[in-house]
Amino acid sequence: MCRGDGLMSESEDVHAYTVRLELTDRPGELLRALEPIAETGGNLLSIFHERGNLTPRGDIPVEVDLEATPERFEAIVDALKAADITVIEAGSDRYSEEIVVVLVGHLVETDLSHTLSRIQEASGASIKDFALSAPEGEDAASSARLRMATEAGKGEEILGAIREIAAEKELSVIEPLGEVGR
């Protein structure tokens, strides 16, 4: 990748990232949030400022798309946090968040394909792959691993939908543990 602006030209490994922030409704906050990005050498691509759409705490959600090397991106997120700016989500490629869950129970008897299509419908996530392990015959509980692709930040919503469907069918869901430090 070749690029004119000095700071970025030295590194080859530039990726696109989406950062979701929550800003307090105060003049200058947006500028304050963008400063660490510029200072740390990120290349701002777009800012989506969801005015009028306040969070329950009364903050303004802002989505920032930028390009940076992974190292610089980490530094940017750290700088934002150090500036006391609420970073809700920071990841690359906003449509590629992946969620893996394991379902346990009487999967076959409770109509597995129905379960899967309901999960897909209710959560809006697409099931990327699926593995079933039912080694002990019909009576024993079997397990299934589901990998789903989703938009970044939708994880909790999707898990909620899975939980509900699983509860109806008396299946248990082994959920992934989210990242620390968000």
Partner: protein, 317 residues
């Protein structure tokens, strides 16, 4: 300091045995049926030998331990739910005499936290309970040092028995019942493993953490969402392993409350301790994530945390 030790099981016996190495004197030791009391210091080895051979520690009544001469009550009787007795009454009795209390027993601070705090306020005594969360690991003192309101979440592996079972199931592809029996043979799991495998023990520790972190809102076991590992088939672990992941019983304390259950985690992270080892991750506002890992149970391990607490008590020399 002069210690009255209630409970002569794994923890109480270790505290009594090691007290002199920490410069303390045991002036009372009690089990459920008996006590031995001496304001100048009891003969610990005789009492523990007698416990082994006769099942009692002395000829006095258990109650006498609490009314004798001591600076610190070490509460190491069984953890009970609900009323948290007899532990709770032991705590309030000692506080009403303006004595300090150091707990290994989780019941009073998990089930009746605000009552314990109220009794402490009315007393010149102080209550500490490092041993109740993570055995030897300095979890509560680290939280106190960082200041509870600079901590955003705590999570971790807080039950060695469950972790042993899950890590064996994953490594050997064996079923739950098989590994549980093996753990019982090794003395890692109790004959009745319910507290450990149903998640109750980990949940009590998380509830205690929530009480410490949330100053103000009281949590009890009832407020925790708890799921155990009993019904986990080995096929679930196999599927996790195939994907570079594994399943561990994880306790979480966050703004969303207290939650304990089997969770999918990456196979090679700090959290993925094996065997009976425990780990706690503390998420701080200004210092990122701290990992504290070590032995979460055992007599001498838990006693070490008790002595650390005793060392932190206010005292005039």
């Amino acid at each position: 300091m002069k210690l009255a030790v209630l409970g002569a099981g794994a923890v109480g016996a270790s505290v009594a045995e090691l007290a002199s190495q920490y410069g303390h004197t045991v002036t009372a030791l009690a089990d459920s049926q008996s006590a031995v009391v001496d304001p100048d210091g009891i003969d610990v080895s005789t009492a523990l030998e007698r416990k082994q051979t006769e099942g009692t520690v002395g000829d006095a009544e258990p109650d006498e331990a609490l009314s004798g001469t001591y600076d610190v009550l070490v509460e190491a009787t069984p953890t009970t739910l609900g009323e948290a007795e007899p532990g709770f009454s032991h705590v309030t009795e000692a506080l009403s005499q303006d004595k300090h209390v150091v707990l290994a027993n989780k019941g009073p601070v998990a089930e009746r936290y605000s009552e314990v705090r109220k009794a402490e306020e009315a007393s010149d005594g102080t209550v500490l309970f490092e041993a109740t969360v993570g055995g030897a690991m300095p979890v509560l003192s680290t939280i106190a040092d960082f200041d509870a309101d600079k901590i955003t979440a705590v999570r971790g592996v807080l039950n060695g028995t469950a972790n042993f079972i899950l890590s064996r199931m994953a490594a050997e592809g064996l079923g739950y019942e098989h590994v549980l029996a093996e753990a019982q043979d090794l003395g890692v799991a109790e004959t009745d493993p319910s507290f450990d495998v149903d998640g109750t023990d980990a949940a009590l520790k998380c509830v205690i953490l929530a009480n410490v972190l949330s100053e103000g809102t009281e949590f009890t076991l009832e407020d925790a969402v708890v799921e155990g590992i009993r019904d986990l088939p080995s096929s679930a672990l196999d599927l996790a392993t195939e994907d570079g992941k594994t399943i561990r019983l994880i306790g979480e304390v966050s703004d969303d409350g207290v939650r304990v259950g089997p969770r999918l985690i990456e196979e090679n992270t700090a959290l993925t301790v094996t065997g009976t080892r425990n780990i706690v991750q503390i998420e701080t506002t200004h210092a990122g994530v701290l990992n504290i890992s070590g032995r979460g149970a055992g007599g001498p391990e838990t006693a070490s945390a008790v002595f650390a607490d005793i060392g932190r008590l206010p005292h005039e020399e």
